[in-house]
């Protein structure tokens, strides 16, 4: 008796293993039929996807903006620079020779000479006090050589020691390590990056919650169907599958919509940014999303959708038992 029972129960378990080919085909069928179910309620599907899309578009868009800002300020973001203010008596020729010599030194990446006239010009543009400086009549500014250490000499320590060696040069009145702007800019982008991280976490969570909630309500909604399916011998895996695929589709559609919204947002922001760039005599243009970022957005969104439905299914499917 006992052995017969065991044989029977082994038989029951064996029936669950399927040929991989059949398994794949069934999954494909479920994926398509769950897609069909979503398509039959287009309004609702669109709404859920829209909410997910909007939620994901925000951090994605802001991240893109931050990247743009960093691109705009690429030169600031580089290595520290050392400005050498030369004695006012130094002639343009002397200055040029010094710059050439410096360019050959070990540890120095690039050298830029700003002659006295150019210095005034740049200073005016930079400070916005153009007319005031013009009113001074005589140019009070010295020539400046901007030295950029190579990457391996850009650490604070190496830069400091280079600074002190450059300071001893005869023509140099004052040598200054120019870290202030970099620091300020880093403080600002730090805030932005932190805010975007907080945002992305919150909104990623929100997307999860949306999917969990949608799938949960859908499970409740299809209560009768689940109950009857269990009644006629549907396994949990069989019942679970369409919900998991629904979550996956929601995530995918949401991600695509997010991408679309980011493209749209960039389009909307471009005119005022161009206007702003115009004020700075710049031809800066916002750059769009690149291919890896697109893949990360879509992939992440799909995973969030799948994860959300997994959570919902785990929590709520076992609550429904036929009676």
């Amino acid at each position: 008796m006992r052995s017969k029972r065991q044989r029977k129960s082994a038989h029951l378990s064996r029936r669950r293993r399927l040929h991989p080919h059949v398994w794949l085909l069934r999954h494909l069928q479920v994926a398509l039929s769950s897609l069909g179910r979503l398509a039959r309620a287009p309004f609702s599907t669109l709404m859920t996807s829209a909410v997910i899309g909007i939620s994901l578009a925000l951090p994605a868009g802001l991240h893109l903006l931050l990247q743009n800002v960093q691109a705009l300020s690429g030169s600031w973001d580089g290595a520290a620079t050392i400005s050498l203010f030369l004695h006012r008596e130094t002639t343009a020729r002397e200055a040029g020779e010094l710059a050439r010599d410096l360019g050959l030194r070990a540890g120095i990446g690039s050298v830029r000479l700003i002659e006295r006239d150019n210095a005034l010009e740049e200073f005016q543009r930079f400070s916005g006090f153009s007319d005031a400086l013009r009113a001074l009549g005589e140019n009070p500014l010295p020539a400046v050589i901007v030295v950029e250490p190579t990457a391996d000499h850009s650490t604070p320590g190496a830069a400091e020691s280079m600074l002190s060696s450059l300071r001893t040069l005869r023509q140099v009145e004052l040598a200054q390590l120019d870290l202030q702007w970099v620091r300020r800019f880093h403080a600002i982008t730090d805030i932005a990056r932190r805010a975007i991280a907080v945002l992305a976490t919150l909104l990623g969570l929100a997307v999860m919650l949306i999917v969990v909630n949608t799938i949960r309500l859908e499970i409740q909604n299809r209560h009768a169907e689940i109950e009857i399916t269990k009644l006629i011998g549907g396994t949990n895996a069989f019942i679970r599958r369409p919900f998991l695929y629904a979550g996956l589709w929601y995530g995918l559609f949401g991600g695509l919509l997010a991408w679309f919204l980011v493209v749209l947002g960039i389009g909307l922001l471009d005119p005022p940014v161009a206007r702003l760039a115009g004020l700075y005599q710049s031809t800066f243009e916002l750059s769009g999303m690149d291919y890896p970022a697109f893949l990360i957005l879509i992939g992440g969104s799909t995973l969030l959708g799948l994860g959300g439905s997994w959570l919902a299914v785990g929590r709520h499917l076992s609550e429904i038992e036929p009676s």
């Binding site: 129960s9 009768a224 109950e227 011998g233 549907g234 396994t235």
Partner: protein, 224 residues
């Protein structure tokens, strides 16, 4: 085929649905189950279909000890037990065809095979014309027959029916009972709960009578 070994079922709250039931149903037997309302007929059927678990005692079906069956094996047990309900339990957003096909889809039967067997089952209950109809557009009797088709489409060795003729007129009831008899002829074990004592009396089958959760009477079929 079906063994009850001193089975008691208490519902939460202490109410006893069944008390100390001992029962043995042979393979290919057709048995009626009667008793007053609340006697425990549905409870007994639910124990066989594992919709409820016994509080005490053992239930065995086809050699499987249901008391020990693991949760994930329940679906496979249910595939071998066709169930027919008082309230039909059809899905109202699916056609008659899709409703009847469900047990085959769940079991992973191929497309053309499913189609063939669903049509055969619908033909047996004379509903081949209503294949594409939705359950709400059917009368009570027609819905009942869809439920019967669904229960037998996968040819389970055991079929349970809970008042399958409660909503049918006498002619149709007789017809359905004839249908059950046909299934029985081909070796299906049937257990049918019903109030229709007149109908039972016309059929020479074993009749179990429950009274307040106890097996009050077990009248065997008179051998012809």
């Amino acid at each position: 085929m079906i063994f009850f070994d001193n089975v008691t079922k208490s519902y939460p709250g202490g109410h006893r649905g069944l008390s100390d039931i001992d029962l043995h149903i042979e393979p290919a037997e057709m048995v009626f189950l009667t008793g007053h309302s609340g006697a425990g007929k549905s409870t007994l059927l639910k124990l066989i279909g594992l919709l409820e678990r016994s509080t005490r005692g053992q239930v065995r079906v086809g050699g499987r000890n249901l008391t020990r069956l693991k949760k994930r094996q329940i679906p496979f047990h249910r595939r071998e037990v066709g169930m027919i309900f008082q309230d039909h339990r059809l899905l109202h957003d699916r056609t008659v065809f899709d409703n009847v096909a469900m047990p085959l889809v769940v079991a992973g039967v191929g497309h053309s095979e499913t189609s063939r067997r669903v049509r055969a089952a619908l033909d047996k209950v004379s509903l081949l014309g209503k294949e594409k109809a939705y359950p709400v557009t059917l009368s009570g009797g027609e819905q009942q027959r869809v439920g019967i088709a669904r229960a037998v489409v996968s040819k389970p060795p055991v079929v349970l029916a809970d008042e399958p003729t409660g909503n049918l007129d006498p002619d149709l009831s007789r017809e359905i009972m004839g249908l059950f008899d046909q299934f029985n002829q081909v070796g299906v074990t049937l257990l049918i709960a019903t109030h229709d004592l007149d109908l039972i009396s016309t059929l020479n089958k074993r009749v179990l009578t429950l009274d307040k959760g106890r097996l009050a009477q077990d009248r065997p079929a008179i051998a012809c």
